[in-house]
Symmetry: D2
């Protein structure tokens, strides 16, 4: 069964907008927190990957907003790996209120692997194997 | 023929990330700039709408990233209205480099109309009619 | 002796800029995390205060940048109350790298108490007393 | 007489917070817009400077908040050069509402010159001379 990474955070005041809820773009930032935690769990930090010259750039993102998060709410981001290919990785996210369990946002983000000059390149074999063990 | 709203901006340093390009969540902020300009063009500012008790909340967003924007680049956001329903409005966006014409991001954002208590409600008839004239 | 509130966080990718370090404005966001934790520790959440009609608005901020934080670094924010007056509260912050202990930013933020219409007003007596117990 | 650079912008929805005003950290982002425009006016873009290996890092920032900006307000940032030294540059900012003239924030930001490895280094002579002509 595929690994589910749980990341917890608390909503920052800066993330609220004048509607009194979290500004919609911030959920993409929270997805990245989930992704960072997921990758670290599988043996290599993304910060370390970048130092080795591999970058993952977002090529596609899709978000569905079901309910709102508010300042000071405790949030849980559940990150699952949906697909690993030679040059692309897809993660699915479910963002919920940690106290009420209310589902807030579901999202899918596709990333492509880039070399230091910004061209698509194959994921390092070791990293790809580590991720595939999470499927 | 449907109206295309052009908004121009210059990339801020704060919008860059350590990959040297614009952080992917910021394109949603730029879409909102396009939407704000589009709505203002049709006779009512979104700020004024909110003061009258109508809010538009993002219910779905989809972005495809084709190429990268960088600090100090001049950017153009083209906003088109794709659909108007009684409780929902859909906008399409094409974000490009204003100097090279390179296509950076294409996006679709669906918004739903909420009353002051946060419940779905019909768009004000006048506003809906104004938008429909843009289709 | 005055209370020191410790808040921990991990640097987000979105907080980095193209210099490869945390963008300087983000430290103000981290100060607010420290302040929120500090206030919660003293018996009332800031979110709850706002619901009761009391807002604290920043009236002055001063930051000294000593060293840089980077993506994925573990950070500690130490928040101290420096002064409490009838309409103003001053907090001091020391932001450090949690692993190396390196001092990154020291800051002071002054906040004034506002009523719901945005005018200066006295801090609620109970809240002021709670804060003064932390001095 | 010293040059005053005027930069105009319109407040973005993303810049508002749940108090209904611009979140205080965003004024530092606006100061950077002013600084970028100021430097560009004097013959070299900051983006170009970074490509040549010179970075300006913020070493100190001080802000006083007088009044609030709100979503969709038109804002003017006035940037003045206060001081140029061999390794440091100081800018002063006055941020106002472009329509009412209300003074919102006054700020001072000190930047230090860094070489590509992040160590303090002298400003390039040509750039320093260009800036000094603005004093």
């Amino acid at each position: 069964m595929s690994h589910v990474q749980r990341s917890e955070l608390r909503v920052r005041y800066a993330e609220s907008d004048q509607m009194g809820v979290v500004y919609h773009a911030n959920y993409l930032v929270w997805c990245e927190i989930g992704r960072t935690d997921f990758i670290r769990e599988f043996g290599v930090s993304y910060a370390e990957m970048e130092r080795r010259g591999v970058a993952l750039a977002v090529s596609e993102a899709r978000l569905r907003y079901h309910d709102s998060a508010r300042y000071d709410d405790r949030i849980v981001v559940e990150t699952r790996l949906a697909d690993v290919r030679s040059r692309a990785v897809t993660f699915d996210y479910l963002i919920s209120n940690a106290d009420t369990g209310a589902r807030l946002v579901s999202a899918r983000v596709v990333l492509v692997s880039l070399d230091p000059s910004g061209h698509p390149s194959a994921l390092p074999a070791e990293f790809r194997a580590q991720l595939q063990s999470a499927l």
